[in-house]
């Protein structure tokens, strides 16, 4: 009897620990396990890395792929899994170390947080369409419950809005999965991909549109993202950081994974998605200019960056895709850092509104300094990591000779500079006279410090990781290899 280290642990471990949660309450292990689980998963990801780099890791569940469910850990999904574990680790460490509000530290929050991680991991890893729907609902339901966790009117409103819009998205996605099964008789993504070309063209369009509506709502793309700022503002900032940092990233990855896998020629779909991404980016950045609440401003800024990532991934060239994946990682770190500073400021000064934070930089110098660092990284100033990834994306577009996205990205960076400097100016307002209302644990700065350190490290030395992202982009774009890995060389 052996216990092999396989990808299924990324789902099974959080599931097992969440189910057994009454036990941890009894033995007072809740907080150590909450932080320990993502840490263990991160460790597991690094243990599996050498194997993943030699070839995709396929794990069969009960029956071999075309018939059954399988999990697939390849260079692209490895990046997402490691990112999800890292973001989960930082956020849960902040909850533990900052002595956060009691409702974030009880058994129910433990269950929701672990299952959010399990759901995101499952979505990224699974190779089966219906299984994807199930994990989408696991991640979704945990997110609805998390955003309503505080149980006051604004949190309940955020939870309700999220639940309604999320269920609608799930219905549309399920509809498209059902149509795919009725047309092809397959649910395995690779097997569907091999037969997708045989579906009549109008039906393909219908399936694609239904899937775009479903995943577009979840991934917060332009016409479907009106609900996002409300949810981010109503939830605790740490949770908003998690939604922006790992949930949306997982959905974006799933969307592009499906586009690149199902469509033999993703050019047209990619162009559509680039258009959506560009619109998302510009509209969100412009609206962010006049936000008066820090959480809302960060929500719009997050939408802008998601638009940028969509733009880069939709182009479908190796350089921009690698840049897009790198920017995903950077944006997760940066937004997590910014939302954690927002949590510290909100806790210290009770309000997160612009008018109430004048001069907060002197009462909380470390938090304000980290906010400035994060803001500079979002804008993409050297030597921070945002610069490196934006440079990859811009270089990719320039090499391909397509210049309109370059102009749009630079314009968006200018707008970003505008509103972030507005906030920085207020934080260091010399006339402001603020006294902190509540103390903040010194240890709370540890996870924020780690995030800041990684941002600087990735910015100074992007060559440490560029192999990983280029391999990831190759795997994501190489449809033929993905099909033959699952279905055998013959197909």
């Amino acid at each position: 009897m052996t216990l092999p280290l396989t990808p299924v642990w990324f789902v099974a471990l959080p599931l097992l620990l969440a189910f057994a949660s009454p036990l941890w309450v009894r033995y007072r292990l809740l907080m150590p396990l909450l932080v320990g689980t993502p840490a263990l998963l991160l460790l597991l990801a690094f243990v599996l890395l050498p194997e993943v780099r030699t070839g995709p890791l396929l794990e069969t569940i009960v029956i071999a792929p075309p018939l059954g469910i399988h999990l697939q850990l390849d260079s692209a999904s490895w990046i997402l899994v490691a990112l999800i574990s890292l973001a989960g680790l930082l956020a849960t460490a902040f909850i533990w170390l900052s002595d956060a509000e009691p409702y974030l530290r009880d058994r129910r929050a433990f269950v929701f947080l672990l299952l959010l991680i399990a759901g995101c991991n499952g979505m990224v890893l699974t190779g089966d369409l219906f299984n994807l729907y199930v994990f989408l609902e696991i991640a979704g339901v945990s997110a609805y419950a998390l955003s309503a966790l505080r149980r006051d009117a604004s949190a309940l409103e955020a939870g309700l809005k999220y639940l309604i819009i999320g269920s609608v998205a799930a219905v549309f996605f399920l509809f498209s999965v059902v149509l795919i099964y009725l047309q092809t008789g397959q649910l395995n993504m690779a097997a569907v991909a091999a037969r997708f070309g045989g579906i009549p063209a109008p039906m393909q369009l219908l399936i694609g549109l239904l899937m775009l509506v479903g995943l577009g709502i979840k991934a917060e793309l332009f016409p479907f993202n009106f609900w996002v700022p409300d949810v981010y503002q109503g939830s605790h900032p740490v949770l908003a950081g998690l939604f922006s940092g790992l949930l949306v990233k997982a959905f974006l990855f799933v969307l592009f994974h499906l586009v690149f896998l199902l469509l033999a020629d993703p050019q047209v779909a990619g162009l559509w998605l680039m258009g959506l991404g560009a619109t998302t980016m510009l509209i969100a950045e412009v609206v962010a200019l006049r936000q008066e609440d820090m959480r809302r401003m960060l929500a719009y800024s997050s939408l802008g960056q998601i638009g940028l990532i969509t733009l880069a991934l939709g182009f479908g060239m190796q350089a921009t895709t690698a840049g897009g994946l790198f920017h995903m990682v950077n944006h997760t770190l940066v937004k997590l850092l910014l939302f954690l500073t927002a949590a510290v400021l909100l806790r210290s000064f009770v309000s997160a509104r612009l008018a109430d934070l004048a001069g907060a930089g002197r009462a909380r110098p470390l938090a304000a300094a980290l906010f400035v660092l994060g803001a500079l990284a979002v804008m993409g100033l050297p030597p921070l990591s945002g610069f490196a990834s934006k440079l990859w994306i811009l270089k990719g577009f320039a090499e391909a000779g397509v210049f309109w996205p370059v102009a749009l990205i630079l314009l968006a960076a200018l707008i970003e500079a505008g509103y972030y400097f507005r906030w920085i100016k207020v934080l260091y307002d010399p006339n402001g006279d603020l006294k902190a209302a509540a103390p903040v644990e010194r240890m709370a700065y540890v996870p924020m410090g780690v995030a800041a350190g990684l941002i600087i490290l990735l910015g100074v030395a992007p060559f440490l990781v560029d192999d990983l992202f280029i391999e990831g982009a190759q795997t994501l774009l190489d449809r033929g290899a993905a099909l033959s890995a699952v279905l055998g060389a013959g197909s």
């Binding site: 009117a153 309940l156 639940l163 509809f175 059902v178 099964y181 609440d293």
Partner: protein, 126 residues
């Protein structure tokens, strides 16, 4: 008298008609109604119509339930078991989400006295 239903095309056509009618009744309710519970019910109707489509179109007339009983000895001439299993899964998921939604809506109504989706304005800027 109902022999024409044995033609799979006709039977499936009826399923498609019914399913889509239900789906768009649900979509209309989702867009037009403003009471929280009505919105949740509309979503449930949309979900149910998708299940109906799945089970209805995956089974052809003349196929038996995929269970060995009543003298059947081999798995042949039976309905496709996968859509049935998946629909079971999807129904339970739909029920769970609906129950969570209703409990959120009830709690929200208790706290604020509001049940109108257009008046949910705690979270507006300024």
């Amino acid at each position: 008298m109902l022999a024409f239903l044995d033609d799979p095309k006709i039977l499936h056509g009826i399923y498609v008609l019914g399913t889509l009618t239900l789906f768009f009744i649900g979509l209309y309710g989702l867009l037009a109604k403003r009471h929280l519970l009505k919105v949740l019910i509309s979503i449930a109707v949309m979900e149910l119509s998708v299940y109906l489509l799945f089970v209805g179109l995956a089974t052809s007339p003349g196929e038996t339930a995929p269970i060995l009983s009543d003298g059947l000895t081999e798995f042949a001439g039976m309905a496709d078991p996968v859509p049935q299993a998946l629909t079971l899964t999807a129904i339970v998921i739909g029920l769970a989400v609906l129950a969570l939604g209703v409990s959120l809506a009830v709690q929200y109504h208790r706290l604020t006295g509001k049940a109108d989706i257009a008046r949910m304005t705690e979270l507006k800027e300024l």
